[in-house]
């Protein structure tokens, strides 16, 4: 990931204020984590009561498989939201750009490792482009990424109708494989969530990100360059989306340019459900992992209940509405 070298000193710590805030922060984090875990458990329990065969390695495989790609993409969205970049609506397109770059290079006979790296870099370049437009145009990220997502999808539609990963490649073999009873792609996701969580909490880059997201003016007053942090935020998120794209390519035999669209809602829902407020500055990636797991269980449970897949959309949409409703109510009450 990009670690911007900033000229200014790191934000000067203000001990009393910081500990007070992080105490309150960790309390809400624990509450968020517990409530999501509880709802997740309830869902699993309810499904098991109706269909005892839910508790099988098959469901576990299905859930972890869904978790892998949406989890990585949620980390990308989480970075943007925590960094005060509101939302990156073009992440599904970044995912497909990276997947397309990866399989095209593989098809041209480029070694797997280089193809994968290029795929990740292409995601980063996509994010950097968004960042440059946002920073130098001083435009709202939601509108910019809406437009670039629109335009990027159109360019891909003009360029290719569908892309296939070469079936003999090592990346494809990786995508089909399992490790410790779970899909291979689940493990990189777990690593990225862990790394992102550690980076946010312990590195200078992470502290800058939360500082800029929480209060840009204060961060700037302390000598943090907003431009560099914003550029790093969007390129970093793009690169993480690039990793999601590589994982996506490894498990998908053939995809169209529009293949990323289905991730948009689940990713935004996961971020908001995890208590990563759109106003920026706070968020915990472990809670994000729980919320991705919960949302990924819904379609599997729906299938076990014998309901058509449309009900997964209804539940996920309703959940997002309820989650933001509760979040908004909490902020409103806290502000009084």
């Amino acid at each position: 990931m990009t670690t911007p070298t900033l000229t200014a000193d790191p934000a000067a710590p203000r001990p009393s204020a910081r500990t007070a805030r992080s105490d309150a922060g960790s309390r809400t984090t624990v509450r968020d984590a517990l409530s999501i875990a509880a709802v997740w458990f309830l869902l699993a329990a309810a499904t098991t009561i109706v269909r005892p065969d839910f508790l099988s390695s098959q469901s576990l495989l299905a859930i972890t498989f869904t978790m892998a790609i949406s989890g990585v993409l949620s980390v990308a969205q989480g970075i943007v939201v925590i960094g005060g970049g509101l939302l990156d609506l073009s992440l599904p397109v970044a995912l497909v750009v990276s997947a397309w770059a990866t399989v095209t290079l593989l098809g041209a006979g480029i070694p797997d490792l280089i193809a994968v790296l290029c795929g990740i870099v292409s995601g980063g370049v996509w994010g950097l482009m968004n960042g440059l437009i946002i920073v130098y145009g001083k435009l709202n990220p939601i509108i910019v990424t809406l437009a670039t997502g629109f335009g990027g999808l159109a360019i891909m539609m003009i360029g290719f109708k569908s892309a296939q990963i070469p079936s003999g490649s090592a990346l494809r073999a990786f995508g089909l494989g399992q490790f410790l009873g779970l899909p291979n792609i689940f493990w990189p996701m777990l690593m990225i969530v862990g790394l992102a969580g550690l980076a946010i909490a312990w590195t200078r880059w992470g502290r800058r990100l939360t500082a800029v997201g929480g209060n840009p003016q204060a961060a700037r007053a302390r000598g943090v360059s907003l431009r560099r942090v914003r550029l790093a935020t969007f390129s970093g998120a793009g690169a993480v989306a690039g990793i999601a794209g590589v994982l996506f390519a490894s498990v998908t035999p053939s995809f169209t340019p529009n293949a990323g669209a289905s991730y948009q809602l689940i990713v935004i829902a996961a971020v908001i459900l995890a208590g990563i407020s759109l106003s920026g500055g706070k968020g915990n990636f472990l809670v994000l992992l729980l919320s991705v797991g919960f949302l990924s269980t819904i379609p599997v449970s729906i299938a076990f209940f014998g309901l058509p897949p449309a009900f997964a959309l209804i539940f996920q949409g309703a959940l997002l509405i309820i989650a933001v409703g509760i979040d908004g109510f909490r902020i409103k009450r806290g502000a009084r």
């Binding site: 939601i142 360019i155 449309a310 996920q316 997002l320 509405i321 409703g325 409103k332």
Partner: protein, 333 residues
């Protein structure tokens, strides 16, 4: 197309010139210039056929329903609460209306039920956004997904076909040589423009969208204005759905998918913003939709891959928000 007349009319009264210049410098002015450019490009690349009655009718029919939905949704934008769920609401309205009519209910009653469904959806949005204070973008994104799921749950196999004579006449017929539905849409736009720029209600909505706290202090009920705006937006989408059933004779479960982005892209080109309220005028919405419809038509007539449309719209959208910022719009950071 109406813009071609604008320069001619100001020659008559010299005093209007400075006024016109300030007008042209505003958002509606730049979008009018863009529309003029599209018309010129159409005239050059397509030729006289671009202005033929049948071609104008094609554009008019294509733009009419998005115009009705967009103008009513623009009140929510103006009040500072974006409603992303309109695309699925159009689909839900159409599916509900189509299924109710197919089950043998009188079309007028079915239309009434559909409008009530719009009110219900708008009220839920309003309760969560205004009542609980949630982020409008996230709430209506959830509603967008939820309603799409409802459409897919209702329509599992091929949807029934319905032919409702009076509705078909309205949506496909012509009055004075123009598509009737387009005339309704333009009439609605003019009424909405009058409400926004000339009435107290319009000023209230703009005040709420521009600075909700100041509006609250001035004694305007932010809750009431935003609630009504969100209900109007959802009802507009429901009515759009009814008209689509009239036009298509049926309603599939994917009807209206992505319509919200097309409409909001056009509205933002026309001077609205999905991230801040208080800006924009229904006339701008009309011109923005005409620009997009004009480009679509040029691409269609010239047999160019329709995917280029989204690319062109994206570029124009970025240019429009950039111009808006140079004009003194909100800068991010």
């Amino acid at each position: 197309m109406t813009t071609a007349l604008a320069p001619a009319s100001d020659i008559e009264s010299p005093r209007a010139l400075p006024q016109l210049l300030t007008y042209l410098r505003g958002p509606v002015g730049s979008i009018a210039l863009m529309l003029a450019a599209v018309v010129v490009i159409g005239a050059i690349s397509v030729g006289p056929a671009f202005f033929s009655a049948s071609n104008v009718r094609i554009v008019g029919v294509a733009v009419a329903i998005p115009l009705i939905v967009g103008v009513l949704a623009s009140f929510a934008l103006l009040a500072g609460v974006v409603d992303l769920s309109i695309g699925s609401m159009v689909g839900f309205g159409a599916v509900a209306f189509n299924q109710i009519v197919a089950s043998g209910v009188n079309p007028w009653i079915a239309a009434g039920i559909t409008v009530v469904l719009g009110v219900v959806v708008g009220s839920i949005n309003a309760f969560v956004i205004v009542g609980l204070g949630a982020e409008p973008l996230a709430v209506t994104l959830g509603m967008l997904t939820l309603l799409r799921g409802v459409c897919q749950a209702i329509v599992v196999q091929a949807p029934p076909t319905t032919l409702i004579e009076p509705l078909y006449d309205v949506t496909q017929g012509t009055t004075f040589g123009m598509p009737t539905l387009l005339l309704i849409g333009i009439g609605l736009t003019l009424v909405a423009a009058g409400v926004v720029s000339k009435t107290r209600v319009g000023r209230k909505i703009q005040a709420v969208g521009g600075d909700p706290r100041a509006a609250q202090r001035a004694g305007i009920s932010v809750v009431k204005v935003r609630t009504v705006a969100l209900i109007v937006s959802a009802v507009g989408a429901a009515i759009g759905g009814i008209f689509y059933v009239g036009q298509l004779g049926s309603a599939s479960n994917i009807l209206g998918t992505g319509l919200e982005f097309q409409i909001y892209a056009a509205l933002m080109i026309g001077g609205y913003s999905i991230t801040r309220g208080g800006v924009g005028n229904p006339i701008g919405a009309l011109l923005g939709l005409l620009v997009v419809a004009g480009i679509t038509n040029i691409l269609n007539v010239s047999f160019i891959d329709p995917d280029y449309l989204d690319l062109i719209v994206a570029v124009i959208l970025l240019a429009a928000v950039l111009v808006d910022r140079f004009r003194g719009g909100d800068a991010f950071e």
